[in-house]
Subunit: 218 residues, 2 copies
DNA sequence: GTCAAACATTTTGTATACAGGAATGTTGAT
DNA sequence: ATCAACATTCCTGTATACAAAATGTTTGAC
C-alpha cells in the first residue's frame, strides 16, 4: 500500500517547500521535523538528503539543512534551461511523434482554447501541462523526458503566476498552434524554435511580473 | 579536511560502479559494503540513496539496491541528451563568451592538436575535456553547466572508447575548429549545430564500436 | 564595561538495536 | 519425484543511543 516512510516524508516536505510554507533561509531541524511527522530522525534525514540532491535544500556540514528557494538569477537560469530542454524535445518529436500523439496534441490544444474562451486560467493551466508533457514523451527519449518533467515540476509555482498577465493565455495559445503546425510538418528546427520562444516568453513574463511585484530586496 | 564519511563512501562507490568493478545487475549488500569500508550501515545507506538519485543504482523496496549499468538504449539516449545540452551551451556561449575564454579555448585546442600529432590519445582526451568544460562554463548558465557536467561525467567511460577509432582524433579536431570559429563569429545557431553534430558523432561512433565489440546479448 | 575563555547546550553525523517482510530451504503429502 | 506449506534466516527499513562539533552563555580578567 504505502511506500517507504522516508518517501512520504520526502513528498510532504517537497510540497511544503514548493508551497512556500517554509520561508527561504529557514532552517529545517531534524528532530522538529521528526516530531512533526511522528517518526524518527532517520527517514527525515533520508528525505533531506534527497531534497539536497533535488536542489530544494542546501546543507552545510555540521550546521544543518536550510530551505533554498531559487533567487532571481537561478530562476532565469531555470527558465533558460527549460526553454532549451523543451526545444530539444520538440526537435526530436518532430521526426518521432506518432499520428495519435499529434491528435492528442490537437485535442489538448482545443481544450486549451475552450479554457481561454471561458477565461478559466486553472483549466488552461492544466491542459497546457498536458500539451507540454505530450511533447516531452514524444521526444522518444526517456532521459530527456525525465529531465524536462523534473524542471517543469520545479518551475510549476513560478510558471503559474504569469498566466495572470492580461492576454497571456491568448498569446500562449497562438504559440501552441504554431508548435503543432511545425510538428505536423515534421520541421524540427521550426518546432524547436517555436517551443524555445514559447517557454522563453514565459520566463520573461515571469521576470517582468516578479519585478513589478517585489519591492523587497533580492 | 575530510568531508562526511557518507560522501567519501559515495565517491568510492561511484568510482567502483563507473569503473565497472561492480557488474551490471549486481546486488549491493549494505552490511557487506559497510564491512568493506569499515563503517556502519548508515553512511552506506546515505551513499546508496544518492546513487539512486544519480541513476547509477536501482532500488527495489524491501529488496535492496542493484547496480544499474545503462543498456544500449539508455546510452543512446544519454548521448542524444548530451548533444542537446552541449548545443545549448554553445548557443548561449556564442553571445556570452569572454575574449579570455575564447583564447583559452584556442589554447586548449592547440594542445589537442599537439596531442593528435603525438598520437597521444590520453593527452587528447584530457584536453578535449578542458575544451568542452570551458564551453559549459561560458554558457553563463550555472544550472546548464551543472547538468552538462553531470552527464559528461556519467558518459566518461563510454566516450573514452571511441577515440580508439582510426582517424577519430583528427576528425574531432576539425570539428573543434569549426566550433571555435562559430563562437568567434558569435553565430549561435552555427555553434549549436556544430557542437550538436560533434557530440552526436561521438555517440554514433561509440554505438558502432559497441556493436562490433559485443557478441553478447543486450 | 568589554573581551575572552571555558563550559553547557544543541544538533549533526555515525553506530547499533529492533521489527517486519522477502527469499530460501525443508519437510510432508500426493 | 514434484509441489506446496511452513519455518528459518537474511536483509531492509526504522528507531534509538552515542560521539563529536558548533554555537551560545556565563564567568572571570583586564
Amino acid at each position: 500500500m504505502d511506500q517507504k516512510l522516508a518517501d512520504t516524508i520526502l513528498n510532504e516536505l517537497e510540497e511544503l517547500i514548493l508551497d512556500g510554507t517554509f520561508e527561504n533561509g529557514e532552517r529545517l531541524d531534524e528532530v522538529t521535523l521528526a516530531k512533526r511527522f511522528g517518526v524518527s530522525r532517520t527517514p527525515v534525514r533520508e528525505a533531506l538528503q534527497k531534497l539536497v540532491l533535488a536542489g530544494l535544500v542546501e546543507q552545510q556540514p555540521r550546521r544543518g539543512a536550510f530551505v533554498r528557494q531559487p533567487g532571481p538569477v537561478e530562476l532565469i537560469e531555470m527558465f533558460e534551461v527549460m526553454a532549451e530542454l523543451e526545444a530539444s524535445c520538440a526537435r526530436f518529436a518532430a521526426s518521432r511523434i506518432s499520428d495519435e500523439a499529434l491528435d492528442e496534441l490537437r485535442a489538448a490544444n482545443q481544450r486549451c482554447q475552450a479554457a481561454v474562451e471561458a477565461n478559466d486560467a486553472d483549466r488552461y493551466y492544466e491542459e497546457n501541462e498536458v500539451f507540454h508533457k505530450i511533447i516531452y514523451r514524444q521526444s522518444g527519449n526517456g532521459l530527456l523526458e525525465q529531465e524536462a518533467l523534473r524542471l517543469h515540476r520545479r518551475l510549476k509555482p513560478f510558471r503559474r503566476v504569469q498566466l495572470r498577465l492580461r492576454g497571456r493565455m491568448r498569446q500562449s495559445m497562438a504559440e501552441h498552434l504554431e508548435i503543432v503546425e511545425a510538428l505536423t510538418r515534421a520541421d524540427a528546427n521550426a518546432a524547436a524554435e517555436a517551443l524555445r520562444a514559447h517557454v522563453a516568453v514565459q520566463g520573461e513574463k515571469f521576470h517582468h511580473l516578479a519585478a513589478t511585484f517585489k519591492t523587497s530586496a533580492a
